[in-house]
Symmetry: C2
Subunit: 97 residues, 2 copies
């Protein structure tokens, strides 16, 4: 299995309503992209200092399935509408048992 991890830092001025709408949009993706095995996302809880703002974690059976997700129109629409213009993004994909 592959675990995909994304951390976001919202640009200055991004409103709370945008973050709520982003979570709703991300939460729809598992119903639209069958390659997603598991999917979690949410805002940082502020339990520790010096953190980023938002995280997405997802699991896929293979790298190929991850690429299908990455390039899927439903995902790309979320990226282009909610994420890319409004945040800095770091991501890693790693193997899990």
């Amino acid at each position: 299995m592959i675990r995909h991890v994304v951390l976001l830092k919202w640009n200055e001025g991004v409103a709370a309503a945008h973050i709520t709408a982003t979570k709703a949009a991300l939460d729809r993706l598992p119903g639209l992209i069958p390659q997603i095995v598991s999917y979690q996302n949410g805002p940082d809880l502020h339990v520790a200092p010096t953190n980023y703002d938002y995280a997405v974690t997802a699991e896929f059976e293979s790298a190929d399935d991850f690429i299908v997700y990455r390039d899927h129109p439903a995902h790309q629409e979320v990226v282009q509408s909610y994420l890319a213009p409004h945040s800095q993004r770091f991501a890693v994909q790693f193997s899990v048992d």
Copy 2:
């Protein structure tokens, strides 16, 4: 539950042997810190461009349990020996069902 997500970028010159040793050290933590519910870590698989280098994901029952982990001597020893002097680090803790 709380999911803790860390992304690392290794400093220039960090050797492959250091990364292997880091994974071994991190893999020992679930046996040493009973508050850890689940724990995964590994190097980026290079299946997509513009990625970070290494990820850690962990789950805890509560924010308090996460803090116990964060401050546990076994974890702090890994942070001080393998991570902090050798990498840039971003982290988020978020709620999962």
